[in-house]
């Protein structure tokens, strides 16, 4: 299996949508074949269309507020005493997380296809919040599917969705988390694909959704590349990009523009959710060697039992609490372009404590997983190593969990 140079990774799949011949594809009910094909035709056309690119850039700039900041975490760097630790503050984006890029593109595509309704799934609630925001902006009716367990633990985002006029549909089946929300959303689309567009909230699902999402979030690395050159004059000789990985949308977007660099110069480190330290359950299929299976229309490494039933996951972070992983990351793992590891709930909480103690930055529980690994590895790196952590979400949504686990001061002081 080989990664090609000079071709965007999202376009490296074969005719049937498989990366490396085995990840991704379109394992969908017959009813969805046509709407998926229509979406593919539209996306392939528009991504080459200069006018559409201008439209995208206009909304990204004026509405999302790109570029997001690239800042040095001076105090944290001093405290850790190794590599220089920087952060790409993607949570600066309108709405507070990277999910806004994908949501905006899907709404633009829906507008171009003449659809009036858009449906989407959400775990941490950010994908749902952003979709509701973008739908409102573009005058689309919006329906968000969310696991009942996630609705209970991510209330601030639920309130935001409702405020934006979206209908939030609680999903009570299975583990009542993201995996069930995605299934329910796909079922809704099966029944309503003639009038409704679907937005899959991450680089998962049938191949075209993986591609659209990866294309959208790549905005992050496009900006970072410019910011690195501005700051250092060129791309640093030792660059390490840390990102949390749930479905894999923010990490893919954070890395995409650096894909063709040698990994010795520019290393990618994906951090999955290891779950509670004492639990056997996790949401880290790449780290813990899960087998390839089919989930939500795509072949990928996925937590499952020997019968092919998808296993329940456990993580403090709703946004990473997903049993599968983007086919793109499976491909990057097997081609050895990226390295994957996991952080436990406790490690993520400690990282959150440390980052907020030293810096005016408040990463949500998802990027706190990436900070955990970045901080621990930075100690061993030389001072000319540039570590960049994507702070892809803001902790506002997590204040209930943070208060419960760390006490009130960690919510108030920030």
């Amino acid at each position: 299996m080989k990664l090609k140079k000079g071709i965007p990774v999202i376009d490296q799949g074969n005719k049937l949508g498989f990366w490396g011949g085995k990840f991704g594809g379109n394992f969908v009910p017959e009813t969805l074949k046509k709407p998926i094909e229509d979406l593919e035709v539209l996306f392939n056309k528009l991504k080459k269309d200069k006018k559409f690119i201008q439209e995208r850039d206009k909304y990204f700039k004026n509405w999302i507020g790109v570029p997001t900041r690239f800042i040095k975490l001076e105090n944290l760097t001093k405290h850790v005493g190794g590599a220089q630790i920087w952060s790409k503050v993607v949570s600066d984006a309108n709405g507070g997380a990277h999910k806004v890029y994908n949501a905006t593109i899907h709404c633009l595509l829906a507008k171009h296809s003449g659809k009036k309704v858009i449906c989407g799934d959400t775990g941490a609630g950010y994908a749902g919040k952003m979709l509701s925001m973008a739908a409102k902006k573009f005058g689309l009716k919006c329906k968000i599917f969310m696991g009942a367990k996630d609705i209970a633990r991510q209330q601030p985002n639920v309130k935001a969705m409702k405020k934006n006029g979206a209908e939030v549909v609680p999903v009570y089946s299975g583990s009542q988390t993201l995996v069930d929300a995605v299934s329910e959303c796909m079922r809704f689309w099966v029944a309503n694909c003639d009038t409704t567009a679907m937005c899959v909230g991450s680089t998962v699902g049938p191949a075209v959704f993986v591609r659209i999402c990866g294309w959208s979030t790549s905005q992050i690395s496009r900006e970072l590349k410019v910011q690195l050159i501005d700051e250092f004059g060129s791309i640093p000789k030792k660059l390490k990009l840390y990102n949390c990985v749930g479905g894999g949308s923010s990490s893919f977007g954070f890395w995409n523009e650096f894909m063709d660099y040698d990994k010795k110069q520019c290393e990618f480190i994906g951090v999955e959710a290891g779950g509670p330290a004492k639990s056997k359950k996790h949401a880290a299929p790449l780290t813990y060697g899960s087998k390839i299976g089919i989930l939500h229309g795509a072949a990928q490494y996925v937590n499952q039992n020997s019968d092919g039933q998808i296993e329940e996951t456990e993580s403090i972070s709703a946004g990473l609490d997903y049993p599968g992983i983007s086919p793109l990351h499976c491909f990057l793992k097997d081609t050895k372009r990226a390295r994957y590891t996991a952080a436990s709930d406790e490690q993520a909480l400690n990282a959150y404590k440390l980052v907020t103690k030293f810096e005016k930055l408040r990463p949500s529980l998802e990027p706190s997983h990436a900070f955990a690994v970045a901080i621990s590895e930075s100690k061993k790196f030389s001072k000319d190593t540039i570590v960049v952590v994507n702070s892809c979400g803001d902790a506002y949504k997590d204040r209930g969990i943070l208060e419960k686990r760390l006490g009130k001061k960690y919510v108030k002081s920030n």
Binding site: P29, K33, G174, V179, V190, K291, G308
Partner: protein, 266 residues
């Protein structure tokens, strides 16, 4: 030897009626009970579809989901499904049985091993909801080698060109999804419209059998009589759930329901 599925269609045609296909979930609500249900309905049903319960079904509505979760909770495994089929075939060896499910379960079991097991236990056909054409070409060929029908699904969204290509590659039976819906949705298209679409498919190759499914109940089944076959699934799963709720015997109740369904189409 002709596949029992084809024999069932011939027999129904001789009686001037569509074949009646039932769908129940293997292991719902227990292994024993689902076997007893099959035995009790086989008198009135022509072809038995047996669902392989999966916990992330992307095309099933509430009723079938409920049945599937119930079966999984009660411990059903793929090997148990084969055992149920084998036991049933001891009881009624010529009654065709079709397994219906999601591809990951077959993929994890191993395609070849799965088909061998199908053959040994007496499975006559397979419906794999999330393995559409052309992705299913290889697997369908493997099925053919084992004389197992791979049943292609067709939908109202399937384009005419695509219909032709699928029918060309299809085995003697295909499955037309009546409307845009998950299983068990309320029939939102008129039976007349459904039959119109069905006829379009039949014209491509009149020799190949096409059954209609999704949203068919006791109320609607009579209006679709002109099809080669009609599938009732969610209505039966609902009956099982209802029986359990009221502490009644699902076997008797489902048997009664299937008898009524049969009565509506003769």
């Amino acid at each position: 030897m002709l596949n029992p599925i084809s024999v069932a269609f011939i027999k129904a045609k001789q009686e001037n009626r569509p074949a009646l296909l039932t769908y129940t979930v293997a292991g719902d609500s227990s292994k024993k009970q689902s076997l007893n249900i099959l035995k009790s309905i086989s008198k009135n049903a022509d072809i038995l579809e047996l669902g392989m319960p999966h916990n992330t079904p992307v095309a099933d509505g509430n009723q079938i989901q409920t049945s599937a979760y119930r079966a999984i909770k009660n411990g059903i495994k793929v090997n148990d499904i084969f055992k149920i089929v084998k036991e049933f075939k001891k009881f009624d060896k010529n009654k065709p049985v079709i397994l219906m499910g999601y591809y990951n379960m077959i993929f994890q079991y191993g395609e070849n091993k799965f088909l061998n097991k199908c053959k040994l236990s007496g499975v006559n056909g397979l419906i794999v909801v999330d393995l559409p054409w052309p992705e299913n070409k290889n697997f369908a060929k493997k099925c053919k080698k084992k004389s197992i029908y791979f049943i292609q699904l067709l939908s109202p969204t399937t384009t005419k060109i695509r219909l032709k290509k699928i029918i060309k590659d299809s085995h003697p039976m295909s499955y037309f999804i009546s409307m845009l819906s998950t299983t068990g949705g309320k029939l939102k298209v008129s039976p007349k419209e459904i039959i119109k679409n069905y006829i379009k498919i039949k014209k491509i190759n009149p020799k190949k059998k096409v059954v209609i499914g999704f949203g068919i109940t006791e109320k609607t089944i009579g209006k679709l009589k002109s099809a080669d076959g009609l599938v009732v699934g969610s209505a039966i799963c609902k009956e099982i759930s209802k029986s359990l709720k009221h502490r009644q015997n699902p076997v008797t109740n489902v048997s009664k329901l299937v008898k009524k369904l049969k009565y509506k189409i003769v």
